[in-house]
Symmetry: C2
DNA sequence: TTGAAAGCGCTAACAT
DNA sequence: ATGTTAGCGCTTTCAA
């Protein structure tokens, strides 16, 4: 018996001494070994009890349980994970938590993961492609998580193809949320952005608008999501026999501020639109504000549709017509794919399309009359 | 040499063979031991190099570095943490990420922590006192994090006092964000809610309003934060010689929906107010919507002030007057206190008051005229 | 300056 | 059904 063991034995003796204050903090965390010694059994048995394995006699179980409670034993999860090779944690990478859509997505993931006994680590990429790549790379090597969910904007010029190597090389399960980026061979879950944009645009056209403008995606190479939404917009316009030239206005980013500026310029220009299809609710909020600044009525003068159905959108004045993605299904689907990927690493990359819904509110309702006394 | 060692030696031989595909995934992660053998040095030396310790000869360092790159070695952080007893992670507990204030707080914490090389695990308590207690308890035992930031609503009836024992018993550093709850002996960082509420209310009064109503906090026992904001409101009203009876309307929660309902009832009642002081921006949004539903003009008929300065508030129509807490200072301060607490566990509980600011926008601006053509 | 070896606390293969 | 023991991959005291 070495010194350390002797020291521990002394501590245990102290533990059993009746005059010892029972809730004083021990100098050292209680280990499974301590419990074993206290109960007079082997570590194996304690482990069995802790993990609820069968083949433990009731008497033994009770004895061990008593020791566990007496010593206030809590298993060291770090040690367990090191041994087992899995942590029960996943990483969620989003561009920016202050963007309502991502916060709500994170909320959904945290909730769904919680039901599965999984903890979520959230980190922000800033939407920067380079940083995204670096963080994903780091995560793929990390021993902290069993899998990664990446909500990527898929910004123009991003090439996740190079990441494939790293990611399949290391065996970290990864699922893309939102839009699959070009060339990527990763699993992916999201909605059909083209169809959704088509529906939103068609709704605007059917409510009698003809000068519809799509708003979002920067001027240069479009990010993957914007490209698809623009595609849906264009198809809808064309199908209705409307011209599409000059009907798309880019924004430097997805922020309210950018939209406010862009719409301000647009409305002051020669060809003011009578409807706006914004690629996000944040953009729509900025647009609403720009119109408010000018005293332009919504929807009387200009109709507005957004994308995402942020929680606040139903409470805007007027309420915002928008596309609601089934976030719960996205979260659930992504977690499921992660689990499957853990099992079968050699599956081909899969796509999961979840449902969406056009939510019509006052911002496009031609029947709506601004009630002012 | 046992079987495992022999197996590893074989793998290493394969590794050095020139015809071996260099980027095929190894069956097993590369360990520090592998690097040591590859470089022909002891694990100790590799560890020294990896951790950038001094007292390593340049030649040795170069040799080890080469092996590290050749084998693509990445240290197992789990093992390191187990050994060192710290993880470099903290836990942030917020009630609900879909509430803009908490999402923005989380954003701030994640950013500031990132600068310190700390990763943040975010989890949601749902604002439920029982769950809050349980999660904090679990976190205090957890080996995953070095500290916990708890953003508690301090709901009525919550007694965190019982938690003190657990928390000081275990030696997990914990800092409360927002409001210190009754009886708690934990560190705390937040603004002076009484003063802030006083300022907001006074602003409403000075802009000529007399029938001001405070909105928020449920009807029964108030949560800690609401109680303080109500206190500030009451003081301001009293100081201005205005009556306060019946001038507080509770809401079941902090949601937009609750506010909409409450304000609808209020405006349809006998004593309609000419100003509302809402205990959160979300409540203010609900209030704005209720007024919009009725065609009541803001600020002409009713002025509105909120609390938190959510990002969207500047873009509402009209823009919302509100209290802006210095969230960055909250995050920074909290992280600093966590660090200090790690060092000196026996410090007395400390309070850090950060600054706030009244941001005046159109919702209370008496000069504002709704521009409508 | 570097090597040898003892663990961090746990689980699981092997033995009884 | 329970005990014994060898690690998971790393850091770090002790020794050289």
């Amino acid at each position: 018996m070495n010194d350390r063991a002797a020291e521990r034995a002394a501590e245990r003796a102290a533990e059993r001494a009746p005059e010892r204050a029972p809730d004083r903090a021990p100098d050292r965390a209680v280990t499974l070994r301590d419990v074993a010694t206290h109960a007079g059994v082997s570590p194996r048995t304690v482990s069995n009890v802790v993990n609820g394995f069968a083949h433990v006699s009731p008497a033994m179980r009770a004895k061990v349980q008593a020791s566990i409670e007496a010593l206030r034993y809590k298993p060291n999860l770090l040690a367990r994970s090191l041994r087992q090779g899995r942590t029960g944690h996943i990483l969620l990478l989003v561009p920016d938590l202050t963007v309502a859509y991502f916060a709500e997505l994170a909320h959904e993931v945290v909730e769904r993961a919680g039901e599965l006994g999984t903890t979520v680590m959230v980190d922000e990429t800033g939407g920067d492609a380079e940083r995204e790549r670096a963080m994903l790379d780091a995560a793929a090597e990390s021993s902290w998580v069993d899998g990664v969910l990446l909500s990527s904007l898929g910004l123009g010029g991003t090439d996740l193809a190079g990441m494939d190597l790293t990611c399949t090389d290391r065996r970290m399960p990864i699922v893309l949320l939102g839009e699959r980026t070009a060339g990527s061979s990763l699993d992916h879950v999201g909605i059909d952005n083209v169809a959704a944009a088509y529906d939103a645009t068609t709704h605007l056209i059917e409510s009698g608008r003809t000068r519809v403008v799509a708003l979002g995606g920067n001027g240069g190479p479009l990010d993957a999501t914007s490209a698809l939404r623009l595609e849906g917009f264009t198809r809808a316009m064309t199908a209705a026999g409307l011209a599409t030239e000059g009907r798309h206005v880019g924004t430097p980013d997805y922020s309210r501020a950018s939209a406010r500026t862009a719409v301000a310029e647009l409305m002051d220009g020669p060809e003011a639109p009578d409807a706006l299809f914004c690629f996000s609710d944040d953009l729509a909020v900025g647009a609403l504000r720009a119109l408010y600044d000018r005293g332009i009525r919504v929807p009387t003068d200009v109709a507005i549709a957004g994308f995402d159905d942020a929680a606040v959108s139903a409470y805007l004045t007027p309420g915002l017509t928008t596309i609601r993605q089934d976030r719960s299904a996205i979260a659930r689907g992504a977690l499921e794919m992660l689990t499957e990927r853990k099992a079968g690493r050699d599956l081909p990359p899969r796509d999961l399309a979840v449902s969406y819904e056009l939510v019509v509110r006052e911002s496009t309702s031609s029947a709506h009359v601004t009630r002012r006394s």
